[in-house]
Symmetry: C2
Subunit: 119 residues, 2 copies
């Protein structure tokens, strides 16, 4: 059920590599990724989970309201972290030349589906 | 000179609030912001400087290449952090309903100008 939603997000995005649904405790609920040499999506998700925690703390200090999304662009990849309720988030990775706008749109579209599946 | 470039970025973006050019040591080189009650752009920049440091460390661990941009969307704001060479970055804040795409474009357009001004 989760993997179907994650699969839709990755497959419908040009350049999509993978997506993990994860709790703030760093434990993955489910994941979907295209086979790819030398790329450990699980490790990526765990590392970025820590970033998201820092970002949330910062948003609290600055009273910016809830953190909804964090995007990181490096030389090689885009990583988009989308919060799903208070306890979960999705980490999605795509190629640097992938369709970043589409990925953000699909994540936003599928969050309600993920939330009802988690309920 | 720096403030002119920062001013262009903020003023040409619908919903632009302010932009700070900062070193990784947390010291601001220059800044430009629209007067706004209850909003401390300097504090925002310092807090997000720490996030950027974490993101860079993570990118190193994951061998993702240089970090170029980090975007954070909260209930109230967008914050875009754009690296400018190895030692500096710009933190730009805009309204949640501001033109995020335009802000990213303008930051990308002005990075070479900031780099030559810093040289």
């Amino acid at each position: 059920m989760f993997d179907e939603i994650l699969c839709r997000i990755v497959d419908e995005t040009k350049g999509g590599i993978g997506a993990v649904l994860m709790g703030y405790d760093g434990i993955a609920v489910d994941q979907y990724f295209l086979p790819r040499e030398g790329f450990d999506l699980q490790l990526v998700a765990v590392e970025y989970a820590n970033i998201l925690k820092e970002v949330r703390k910062t948003a609290e200090i600055l009273r910016s309201g809830e953190t909804e999304e964090v995007s990181i662009r490096t030389e090689k990849y885009y990583v988009i972290i989308r919060t799903v309720g208070d306890e979960y988030f999705v980490v999605m990775t795509l190629e640097r030349d992938g369709n970043y706008g589409k990925a953000r749109y699909l994540l936003t579209r599928e969050v309600p589906q993920l939330l009802s599946a988690l309920a």
